[in-house]
Subunit: 294 residues, 4 copies
Amino acid sequence: MFLFKISPVSTARRYTLSLSCPDRVGVVAAVSTFVASHQGWITEAQNHADQTAQRFFLRHEILADSLPFGIDEFRRQFAVIAQPFQMDWKITDSAQKKRVVILVSKLEHCLYDLLSRWQSQELDIEIPCVISNHEKFRKFVEWHDIPFYHVPVTPETKQTAYDKIQYLFTEAQGDVMVLARYMQILTPEMCDRYPGQIINIHHSFLPSFIGAKPYHQAYDRGVKLIGATCHYVTSELDAGPIIDQDVNRIDHTDSVEDLVRYGKDIEKTVLARGLRYHVEDRVLRHGNKTVVFR
Amino acid sequence: MFLFKISPVSTARRYTLSLSCPDRVGVVAAVSTFVASHQGWITEAQNHADQTAQRFFLRHEILADSLPFGIDEFRRQFAVIAQPFQMDWKITDSAQKKRVVILVSKLEHCLYDLLSRWQSQELDIEIPCVISNHEKFRKFVEWHDIPFYHVPVTPETKQTAYDKIQYLFTEAQGDVMVLARYMQILTPEMCDRYPGQIINIHHSFLPSFIGAKPYHQAYDRGVKLIGATCHYVTSELDAGPIIDQDVNRIDHTDSVEDLVRYGKDIEKTVLARGLRYHVEDRVLRHGNKTVVFR
Amino acid sequence: MFLFKISPVSTARRYTLSLSCPDRVGVVAAVSTFVASHQGWITEAQNHADQTAQRFFLRHEILADSLPFGIDEFRRQFAVIAQPFQMDWKITDSAQKKRVVILVSKLEHCLYDLLSRWQSQELDIEIPCVISNHEKFRKFVEWHDIPFYHVPVTPETKQTAYDKIQYLFTEAQGDVMVLARYMQILTPEMCDRYPGQIINIHHSFLPSFIGAKPYHQAYDRGVKLIGATCHYVTSELDAGPIIDQDVNRIDHTDSVEDLVRYGKDIEKTVLARGLRYHVEDRVLRHGNKTVVFR
Amino acid sequence: MFLFKISPVSTARRYTLSLSCPDRVGVVAAVSTFVASHQGWITEAQNHADQTAQRFFLRHEILADSLPFGIDEFRRQFAVIAQPFQMDWKITDSAQKKRVVILVSKLEHCLYDLLSRWQSQELDIEIPCVISNHEKFRKFVEWHDIPFYHVPVTPETKQTAYDKIQYLFTEAQGDVMVLARYMQILTPEMCDRYPGQIINIHHSFLPSFIGAKPYHQAYDRGVKLIGATCHYVTSELDAGPIIDQDVNRIDHTDSVEDLVRYGKDIEKTVLARGLRYHVEDRVLRHGNKTVVFR
């Protein structure tokens, strides 16, 4: 049976199956028949075929209790279906909350916003720790009973600092790293080590205004809309797969300070949306693009 | 095989299967297995389950040439699948363009916009005729080689006029009637005769400002956004199922005339979107709501 | 000299002159000549004439240091200009931060958002206290060194409770009361006592869906956009002057819970914008409408 | 007396005074006192100061009949005010409709849209002629009783063709040239000859995706919003002062053809808005930016 799309605060335990494979006849038939044959209740089903890549993408949410077996047995049996279609697939369990490690510098808006959504369970995640290159938010974070680590970054200590961060991420058993306006550029090695696991919010409507001071660039160009972009971090600066974007209208009366202020509202909203899609396994990457099953 | 979503100007002939039925296990499995067993190439597949109504909705676009039989044989064979699931279903052929009869009064913006999209084949429809209660647009319409009928409407002649319009609609073998800012209220009988076949563009963000002079109502209330709503006409004024809506920001400097002007841009865009969804069989109604598979 | 629009975190002290008067020739000439004659540096100048009300509105921001006298002398001298034009006018000093009393119930999003903007000085206000009918946010608020008052409201204690709130507001020398998703309806007496001083965020695109459970109403009507409205509270429920509104697109896949979630983002953004306009004296009311000089 | 903002179809004849000058005390006082001293009725008054450029901008709409003299006498007397402030100023008469020459290639949407707004007087302009490098729209244009000139452009004939276009523009006493999706790149000489007189609609959200096939570029980059930009043409491709921009949300299901289709709606709306601002003298350029007094 299909149920209505369920918000993440729902207590109904779900398995999320997501996959991509070469595009051919019968993929949906095979998957849906398998699930139906075990009386699986699908709460959401989406699919997409990319013509250019000739690749097919699918996402199913299945009520855990509707199945006669657990996730391990599902994996065992589904592997048989997946093999002939050469599926690149995974299945996750909503009971296993994603562990999100937040990196922040001195700007508060994204941090406050994420913690607000976390404490209200709007974002159904765990935050094992917050890492910052400044002490500024220690008290605020610790007040939420979340460990806070101060890892200073200087040109000299950059390598040590990033080793430390990766150590903390591993220790925290992090699933994803969120750069919540973290004002440091990660090393290519670090980016390559976590493909699709590091999410950044860039304060411009990419590909416009890559790099530093995008609001100043926007002001100088005289654009009439500014934006923000949530994307996966790759070794190429601000060029990773885009998850979500949004914009806000400005005009000639707005100073750079005004742009920065409007931008904060776009940044925190777009970051929260993008993170939400990610932790719900709604984002499938292929090449430098994303399929986002909202 | 899944192909990429194809724009309507594409020449690839497609069958569009759309259905709704009580919500239960196996619907997708049954449909996709049937299509796959005949090597059907699905170019788009969408589905939705309404929790409140406990009803399931599905839409498939299938490449006609990928099937070993024509639409009649498809109907015959699919009926066997549909019966046990109590499906309310239909299948249409993209080679059979929808015949859209346009009703207009004295405002030009929606008419120009629709004819522009029609002549560029952006809207892949046929326009058998345009009906108006004024002569104003006869030459413009006839220049496009589209028959134009002047059907005056006065309180006395209302019934005769609407009988005439229904006669013309039948003669034209119309599939859908579009009220392109047609400034007359249809009789309940006429509305009831064509459920889901009459599309209106209302110049407000329904359910706000029902009835006459919505822009004046909006101005008097001092709202900061105005909108337009594309909906199916029912016997209850401006209360039919909503297909699409959009809004535009205004402020205190805008006069009612400005609101009317901004509104025209929203109206023509929203009407064109809604009509497009309808002629591509993307809109499934249930009760007073719509499922729109974009 | 005109300076560029200055964001509120700027340290440049400014006087804000705002006025309305019957519409006639020479208002701007009189005001600007007065300011110029004292070498006043105007950083922002806006005006508007309402045709219907035949009323003129003006707002000037003047650099305090550019004037040869203080605000009291300004008042004394300007009164001479104002009298013949029958101006309804006031002048405020940016050095005197507005004192904003926040009322909240159990929803966290607006509270977190306002405190985030307050602590970053994006909102250049003072928050003398937070009042709630629940204990839920005491620790969070007190952690910010802001007094928290728990004032329970029951049908029986309603009057006492509101007397208590008004007492606290007076004690706190509050300038404005913000209902940050405060789930209680104020008494008409209380509304009438503070005209233009109580700001509410209503979780619908007014005038649609007045009253309780607007998201449920929106879901049932099947609208394709939902919104939120920031308005001044009057004794008529949800009918006060609108300061700002915004909307977000939804579709058939969204449950009521999804609407609530999207709505939170609109609510906090629109409330923050509206409050900002208010504390910067950018909102001039006339009748049931507002002039907002952004 | 201030009147309400009047829509351009209004018959009230107005003079529009627009100016910019070095930023200093007393500009508004001088201008408003001059107008008031002659009992001038100002229907709109806007101003702006650019901090970076230290330049002040002003626009006044004055009811012609409220003044005791005509536009020539106004020019004579105002020159005395303008001189000491080193004003760069002009005054135009709403009775003199701007003459807009439209250049188009094979895409119909902007042409239909502009003619629709022209014939309904929403755009209060004159269209002395339409010039195209194709014959396609001759009949449609001529049906509107507008002269149509076919000026083919080939690599060899480019110079002759552009000489012909400039000759036709001069003959038509054109005020502004509109490139309504005109698919040819003008020569630098031609761009330099008409600064602020050639308006182009570029089908991307500049500065993203400059040059050819922006929708393909957008598709390849995987952006989640596409846009269009109305700007003045300068000798540097797609780098001129931006008048207006807008965007539309897309997702992974949209093909390049879909992007093109959505884009058309943004293009025609943004072009019409930008042209409207221009012909109402609402756009003041400085450097590569614009002040748009809406």
